[in-house]
């Protein structure tokens, strides 16, 4: 642990520096907030662009294709080109719609996923806010997104978007339960809702190994529910191409559509990041109890790399789902949640409690 660089040293130093210049504490906080905000936006955009490229390449690989390779080396600049184009694409003004809600919806979606970023622990000390109900906050803000989707579908005054939004509403509310329960299972295991403490508790052994059977079940359920939460195949009913043209965002053009597009990929990252945090030790390097030399080597890899690496691997699995499975039907989707995942989840939570009480886990 000692050799992993603690990022809080830099932030503390910066804070002291500003205070040392004689600035008022409120001003210091404001400056810091703005800097963090700008940094977050940049990171957000870059990550989303990376994800767009990543998904295209992965999907191309599954489909025996090459994927983007013309724009920039290996097609790396492809998503930048897409961004430039989408930024200056016309925003179509529609008649007979609720203009305010129509314009508000994409921002709600993107703000929801941005706020979830706030509590993700990127590395030791590299976290925007660290407070005792971190996980709770994460679940709360990530469900604002569904409001944006519902508004988008309703305000567009289009039958397809309405059906898409209703599907999305039903789906998100159902799967929110599964996510919540599987997260609670892990919170019960960790004994805290504080994100940082959860990560630190996995110093010796990641929860997925420490909590063995119930943790693994929780992970599988989390992965399924997470895929559904991000509206990705096989649960992409709200924007099912072949049924509803483009689902709830059919009527959106230009950057407003861009927001939905980006948010989809960012949510993918968030699902991956939370899974990494709860099951795979967040930024914590891979440690095997007893192998001190090996652990020492692992510590040299920075925490940020560990965290992003884990998140990307998990989101790769979700991408893999999308390009393999056919889509579910709405009733099958809800049946899966209410008849299978929910009871299993409740049982799993009880199992986890028993395991904690009996101490039958890896210490």
């Amino acid at each position: 642990m000692e050799s992993t660089f603690d990022f809080s040293k830099i932030t503390c130093w910066f804070n002291d520096l500003l205070l040392g210049w004689g600035l008022a504490p409120w001003l210091v906080t404001t400056i810091e907030c703005i800097l963090v905000g700008v940094g977050l936006l940049l990171l957000y955009a870059l990550l989303a662009l990376f994800y767009i490229y990543f998904e295209r390449k992965v999907c191309a690989a599954f489909q025996c294709r090459l994927g983007p390779n013309r724009v920039g080396p290996f097609g790396l600049l492809q998503s930048f080109a897409d961004m430039f184009k989408i930024l200056i694409k016309e925003l179509i003004h529609l008649n007979h719609i609720d203009r305010f809600l129509f314009a508000l919806a994409p921002y709600l979606v993107i703000i929801a996923s941005m706020m979830a970023f706030a509590v993700l622990p990127w590395g030791p000390g590299l976290q925007i806010i660290d407070f005792n109900i971190g996980i709770f906050f994460l679940i709360a803000v990530s469900s604002i997104g569904v409001l944006g989707i519902l508004l988008a579908g309703w305000s567009s005054n289009n039958k397809f978007t309405l059906i898409g939004a209703m599907r999305s509403g039903a789906q998100m509310i159902s799967y929110e339960l599964s996510i919540g329960l599987s997260v609670i299972t892990m919170v019960a295991f960790a004994g805290t809702m504080n994100v940082n403490e959860i990560v630190l508790a996995q110093d010796r052994c990641w929860f997925i190994f420490a909590g063995h059977v119930p943790a693994f079940i929780a992970f599988v359920i989390y992965l399924i529910a997470g895929t559904a939460e991000t509206n990705r195949g096989p649960f992409d009913l709200p924007e099912a191409e072949s049924e509803l043209t483009a689902g709830y965002h059919t009527e959106y053009s230009g950057i407003h559509f861009g927001f939905f597009y980006l948010a989809e990929y960012l949510n993918l990252f968030i699902v991956g990041g939370v899974a990494a945090l709860l099951f795979f030790g967040g930024w914590m390097p891979f440690h095997i109890p007893g192998w001190e030399g090996f652990n020492h080597v692992m510590n040299y890899i920075p925490g940020v790399v560990w965290f992003i690496g884990k998140a990307v691997v998990i989101s790769f699995i979700i991408i893999w789902f999308k390009w393999t499975f056919p889509r579910l039907r709405i009733d099958q989707l809800l049946k899966l949640e209410w008849k299978y995942l929910l009871p299993i989840n409740l049982f799993n939570l009880a199992l986890m409690v028993v395991i904690i009480l009996t101490g039958f886990y890896i210490h």
Binding site: C59, W323, I330
Partner: protein, 540 residues
Amino acid sequence: MATIQENIAAKFPQATFEEADVLQINIPDAQLHDLAKTLRDEYGYDYLITIVGIDRVECLGAIYFLSNTKTNQEISIQVTTTDRQNPVITSIADLWSIATIYEREVYDFYGIIFLNNPDMRRLFLSIDWVGYPLRKDYDNGPDSNPVTLEAEPQSDDTHVYTRGEDGKIVCTEKPIFAKNDFVVNIGPQHPATHGVLRFRTAVDGETIKKIDVYMGYIHRGVEKLCENLQYMQTLHFMDRLDYFSAHNYHHGLCMCIERAAGIEVPRRAQVIRVLMDELSRIASHCLFFGTYCMDLGATTMLFYTLRVREQILDIMKKTCGARMTFNYDCIGGVMADLDPDFVKDVKALLATIPANIKEYNKIFTGNVIAEGRLEKMGIMTRQQAIDWSVTGPSGRASGWACDVRKTHPYSIYPEIQFDEIVMTEGDSMARFKARLLEMEQSAHIIEQLIDNIPEGDYLAKVPKVLKLPQGHWFQLVEGCRGVFGVYIESDGGTQPVRMKFVTPSLNLAAVVDEITSGNKIADLITIAGSLDYIVPDMDR
């Protein structure tokens, strides 16, 4: 046949008979319904192949082609009317459901009103279309029906014509949907309709209540165009109806013309034609799997199935010179000889097919989600299939053995060993599997032929300008999606008087409402996709 003719003659003294390749019964309109009912119930002619509208200048009329699904014999009924202003024929829509659509087509082209048809609207053309295009006196000038960008007038009502007590024809309006239905327009520009087809769908939440199919968004008037072209020139349209069964359709039209003109096709050409038919069947089914799975969200499958299709297209490109519109079969044989690499390439293809089919099964057929979505979905019974004349793999998946290669063996098919795939479930999964199995059978047919391509001419000597004797001919072949029929009527000249193409996709689209109502919107995609219609094929 003779007994039927005698019995009919005894029962319907007004009927006259005409021996052509199919026995034709001429009957006045008043007795049409009775005759059709007698033929269906007493003689087992339960499959209505098509209704051909005709305009012989002195009279308008319709020819009904019926087939017996047990003995596979055909019979036709001809009804004519001399009234050009208000031509009226009694409907048989209560005997065959598909007749509703067929009669709408005839009404659209010839303006013949069918009494008691529950839905007498135009089928392909808009409601404000002036004139009836397939009538001989139709004005095809640039001003009669110009291209307009005004939104097409829509009506929520349909018409029903009945004969009142005083003998006058009464027109009543009937709404298509119930008053408070929530109607969603699916199409014409929609990714799941496989082209420009429009479903007006009344939904209750996610459940479909009724579907009204709108066609004609790609109606190109092929039948009318053919009337002004020489026989040789009509061939190329066959590539552009069902572009996946281009070879099969060519085969059908060529056979019909050859039979009429009495041309003997060299054996080599016949073998080549059958080889090409079966190759295009494999390619067509491959694309079906791909697009179908893509509709269901499993996009990756498309890329695997297109691999085989590309391989077949390569083989065809070498011989025919094109990837899609081949125009390869021609009257008297085929256009060009086989490429020297043909046998080698086809053998390479055959070697890959079993592995590919295994892979498709692995990716899709055995998938839990796929099973959940396809099984017991959109069940079509054998009776429904016959009632709606749904042929091809879709009909066979419902247990109706309707493969023309077996029922009316043509070309060299009688000599070939292959099984007709008939399933009993009738659901979407059966339709999917029937195509997979058919692919294996096609490969089996190719295997038998590929080493036995006889040497010799590939094209018989045919006059440059072909004249057919006076008369009419009807020919059926098995396309990739079902029964394709050609009706040619000639007055002895170089151009046909009437050419009618019976395409399977029309029936496939017509049956969608019947088997989809009550299911979810998502199932519309599952069911319509599994029927595998091609929109230009139904619109012609």
